[in-house]
Symmetry: C2
């Protein structure tokens, strides 16, 4: 399939062309860049909605129900699920995805898992590309689901137009550390599994923490309750997402600027590194440097200075 043909089919919303295009973007293939250039003017339309939270919070069930509600409203729904990846992970991760399988035969739902590894620092780049490709193919909203720990995952989800942070009652003390890390990126809080013991306590904790936050420049996040597996409260969550986006047009633009900056920096970093590897770190030069550092003969700062001097042809 030529790139031009692929672009056209993608813009027509063809799921197979979309799947192919996202794979190319994940591989950082030159064709992916052509493709993204082709379709870029047709992007920026989809609402990008982030769903993040601790492992065990029920994010996948929630996303599954959200898909159903957006489908009822006639929308084509894209999902990017960022998975912690592992050689061992088959079972566990597939388990999550299986919950969304009821949408598998629906051509207006496109679900894609992206592994956190194997992007050479480019997870943010690859997921942003995937969002654009879904957007260009006419999917709106694009839901981005990540585990809410780790800077990579936070970087991915925080550039969404709106972010829901999903919490669950009774996960113990240390869970506060996770909540702390993602509290500030939440536009909405969702207490899922809200029929469990501890839901009121969690709500009280959240309400207290929210009084500590600085909400001069943006609205104080609402706290919603859901029981995703019984589809309770999920339609309300969808409505709150939409309401947030309607109200926060200015903030949405600001987010898109942030996302543009993050993208520019990640594409630039990848390109600078690739260029250096290609020009200076040829043959076994890299291995030699690594060996010298491992044996403490050369420190990494001196090694980098040498590389940069060579790059500049000094």
């Amino acid at each position: 399939m030529k790139t031009a043909g692929l672009s056209e089919r993608l813009l027509d919303g063809d799921p197979r062309a979309l799947a192919r295009a996202i794979s190319l973007a994940e591989e950082n293939a030159p064709r992916a860049i052509e493709l993204l250039r082709d379709v870029f003017p047709r992007t920026g339309r989809a609402r990008v909605l982030g769903v993040t939270g601790s492992p065990g919070a029920g994010k996948s069930s929630l996303v599954d129900q959200l898909i159903a509600h957006y489908r009822k409203a006639g929308r084509r729904v894209g999902v990017i699920a960022v998975d912690p990846s592992s050689a061992y992970s088959g079972g566990a991760i597939l388990g999550d995805r299986v919950r969304m399988q009821r949408h598998a035969s629906d051509g207006d739902v496109f679900i894609r898992s992206m592994a956190t590894r194997g992007h050479l620092g480019g997870l943010a780049r690859a997921s942003n590309d995937a969002i654009d490709l879904l957007d260009a193919a006419g999917f709106d909203p694009v839901l981005v689901e990540t585990v809410g720990v780790g800077q990579d995952e936070v970087d991915v989800v925080k550039t969404a137009d709106a972010v829901a942070v999903v919490l669950v009652p009774g996960m113990g003390d240390d869970i506060q550390a996770i909540k702390a890390g993602i509290l500030e990126i939440a536009d909405l809080f969702v207490i899922n599994k809200a029929d469990r013991d501890g839901a009121d306590r969690l709500q009280a904790d959240l309400d207290y923490m929210l009084t500590l936050g600085d909400y001069e420049d943006r609205p104080r996040p609402k706290v919603l309750r859901t029981i995703a597996v019984r589809d309770e409260g999920v339609e309300h969550l969808r409505d709150e997402f939409d309401r947030f986006l309607e109200r926060e047009q200015g903030q949405r633009l600001e987010r898109r600027r942030e996302r543009s900056l993050a993208r520019l920096l990640s594409v630039l970093a990848e390109r600078l590194m690739a260029r250096t590897l290609e020009r200076v770190l040829v043959e076994d030069r890299m291995e030699q440097l690594v060996e010298a550092i491992a044996e403490r003969r050369v420190d990494p700062y001196t090694a980098v200075e040498g590389i940069v001097e060579e790059l500049e042809g000094r």
Copy 2:
């Protein structure tokens, strides 16, 4: 304090010089680079031990007890605790650190928290620098504690000479996803809070998962049980760490090569980016590009191509 004076005091093991040096490294200050060059030949001696696991697994209590056992053996112990960071995090994170406060007045224990944010992609760089500084100051072992989700944290901990992954019984289904992400970096598994319901079940799950792994090139990880708050099993963990390092000399060298490679790449990436920002992205050039991308007038790949051309003086 001049850099030379700081290096000397650091090599003498002065905790204040060490604290200052790590701060300089976190800030990526030019003086930190001088200092690291000075002390680099005196590094590579400390055992670097990683402790990682889900939030709530009791890593901090375990590290606290490990410190006590290494102190009993007459060692000077360094700890780098990588914390998910947040404007809100004061309470929760301090709570963890407070557990180690009994060592606060012990000059032979040095504990440093490092935030996951604010390193411009350089958490791995900063933590590696901190390990070297502790090493040069005579601390051995250096314990590195991280939450085991997120590529950043995994990158930090996986370069340790040995990694213990801490799990806890009864954290629900989805916890498998975390375990999956870090299974392959474990040299030892620790079932902490082993008096809880579900410890046998967790052990059985782990044993099963370990049968799926590929352990031709390295030993199959042992599964240990601890109750850190009661100091049960922690001395055994310390012994198993030491036993692992004795047996796996070859693997330790391989890890150090990996760590050297990761360091070289992260220092190089930071340097290339800094150089580009300084030379090309001056004044409001960056803002203009970001605006153009946000408004979909220019795609990020075309923007980066322009920057690279300019860098090369074409």
